[in-house]
């Protein structure tokens, strides 16, 4: 069945509005995606008809809410092809997922040991490890990136040694769009028995996620970047790791038994989910996954890849544009600068024309340092964007260059 991407825009009510009198063109999808009607409706219905606390109540609504949240866990499991529901921990987002693992590793890693990350990481996959470095006196090593924005993987072989205790890497770069060769990294890591954590914030909803194929030990992502609500995210962890890791926060839901002096913990995932979870968020996420599954990730991927190539082709015609990140393996994210124009001026003018982009360092200051720039303008696409919008964008960019220069 072929999908009408033309009609998809109608699923997203927010896109119908005008900004400064111009139709909204939303090119800030790497920051967050918009929400389809079915997700909005489900959230609404939850509070109208189902709201109740989970796992404890001895009444109908509580059973219902528990069923819904555990149903969501099953949906997430299928979505990323995990082996069991026990490997799926709900968090507030990719950032919390990474922090959870980094915190637990405080008990596992020892002084002088090492963690490898890369120069293209988002601050949320840098700062938790830097905090760990501060607390445990460990060393952080960086995989370099080349001018095109690809990881220099031959560099990785030299970085790995007997002290390496973790490799934490993004699946897709939020600034450069590069899709990293995770399988190759995992292969290399496995040969030395090193666990691999993948920051998948930018991947779901754009490319297929199969944690068994990737064979990574941890995979982190957020619901809001894949049409779900904010404040819900996932940490996937292989069961042996989740069994080994100590709880990360204390509270209700995570315990088997508490006496005045002693506690025994529940099994994963509940061990890591102290307190009332974001029930509504989890239910919304389930709906977002259904939305993606209905369209099929391979259709989305094909559509977005074509749109990305079209945008690059059209933008290449504007001679002042310089692309930042030209990997052959790219998600629909285009970072660029315009010679002679300040990024913030361009962002401001685009906003005035109703076009939403992001400007700045995108929480990836090491990339900026490595590339020798202050920041970029970033246009990131989703399945509701189209070629007409790209044409309008290019036309306005030309106009803005004329005004600013």
């Amino acid at each position: 069945m072929s999908i009408s991407f033309k009609k998809i825009k109608n699923d997203f009510p927010i896109l119908k509005q005008k900004i400064n009198g111009y139709p909204l063109i939303y090119f800030d999808n790497a920051a967050t995606t918009q929400k389809p009607n079915i997700v909005i409706k489900k959230i609404n219905e939850y509070y109208k008809k189902q709201n109740s606390n989970v796992h404890r109540g001895a009444h109908y609504l509580s059973y219902k809410a528990t069923e819904e949240i555990e149903g969501s866990r099953t949906e997430v499991k299928k979505f990323i092809n995990a082996k069991t529901n026990k490997e799926i921990i709900f968090t507030s987002g990719a950032t919390e997922s990474i922090n959870l693992v980094a915190n637990c590793f405080e008990k596992i890693i020892k002084k002088g040991e090492e963690i490898i990350i890369s120069e293209m990481e988002h601050h949320s996959n840098i700062v938790p490890w830097l905090l760990l470095k501060k607390n445990k006196k460990i060393k952080i090593r960086y995989i370099r990136i080349n001018r095109k924005g690809d990881l220099v993987l031959k560099n990785l072989r030299k970085l790995i040694n007997e002290k390496t205790k973790m490799i934490a890497l993004s699946h897709v770069s939020n600034t450069l769009g590069t899709i990293n060769n995770i399988k190759k990294v995992v292969q290399l890591a496995k040969s030395k028995n090193i666990p691999v954590l993948i920051d998948g914030a930018q991947a779901p909803g754009h490319i297929e996620i199969d944690v068994q194929k990737l064979d990574c030990d941890f995979y982190c992502f957020s619901g809001h970047k894949m049409f779900g609500p904010t404040g819900i995210g996932v940490l996937y962890g292989k069961k042996p790791w989740l069994d080994k890791m100590p709880p990360y926060k204390g509270g209700g839901e995570m315990i088997k038994k508490v006496t005045m002096n002693e506690i025994s913990f529940a099994e994963a995932p509940h061990k890591f989910e102290a307190g009332t979870p974001n029930i509504c968020g989890a239910i919304g996420l389930k709906e977002a996954i259904k939305y993606i599954n209905d369209i099929k990730i391979k259709n989305i991927n094909k559509y977005e890849s074509e749109l990305l190539l079209y945008a690059i082709k059209q933008m290449s015609k504007i001679k002042e544009i310089q692309f930042i990140g030209e990997s052959p393996q790219k998600a629909p994210i285009i970072s660029f600068i315009i010679k002679g124009c300040h990024n913030y001026d361009v962002g401001q003018m685009l906003d005035n024309f109703g076009i939403a982009v992001r400007v700045g360092h995108h929480c990836t200051q090491p990339i900026m340092e490595s590339m020798g720039i202050n920041g970029t303008i970033r246009a990131s696409f989703s399945l509701y964007n189209d070629k007409k919008e790209v044409d309008y964008f290019c036309q306005k960019i030309k106009k803005i260059i004329n005004i600013l220069k």
């Binding site: 400064n20 300040h342 913030y344 001026d345 401001q348 906003d351 005004i403 600013l404």
Partner: protein
């Protein structure tokens, strides 16, 4: 009406000549380009304004009981806004600056076209100008 109010009124009238925001922007950018240059040596860390997304430097000199401001930015829209601020505040006495009401940015109809980040940057610039006025008022 004192001098600060008068200049603000002039600026508002000047921008009223343009009908749409694009023309207002082009005018603002022109003003930025015409601004008196800030010598490179002043573009250092100690003169930089915190809270602006682009780099903004402001320096002040106190002479004959008036403050003369010089400023610059690497972003051209910001530079245009600075040129308006300087037109209003440069050459005024510290007390007049401290007592001044300023609403011309809103009145020229550009505020809704400034992102929140830029609007808070504008606040930071005005705070810096007032800070200088406070120092020289002592």
């Amino acid at each position: 009406m004192n001098s600060i109010e008068k200049i603000q009124k002039e600026i508002v009238e000047e921008f009223d000549l343009f009908d749409d925001w694009q023309d207002k922007y082009e005018h603002l950018i022109e003003l930025g380009k015409e601004m008196e240059l800030l010598p490179e040596k002043h573009k250092n860390e100690s003169n930089i304004i915190e809270g602006c997304q682009s780099n903004v430097w402001i320096v002040a000199k106190f002479k004959n009981k008036k403050i003369k401001f010089l400023a610059d930015s690497d972003a051209i829209i910001t530079k245009g806004i600075i040129s308006l601020l300087l037109r209003v505040f440069s050459g005024q006495s510290p007390l007049d600056i401290l007592n001044a009401n300023y609403n011309f940015i809103e009145l020229i109809g550009l505020k809704k076209h400034l992102s929140i980040n830029r609007a808070s940057g504008l606040e930071s610039m005005i705070n810096k100008i007032k800070e200088y006025a406070l120092i020289f008022n002592k």
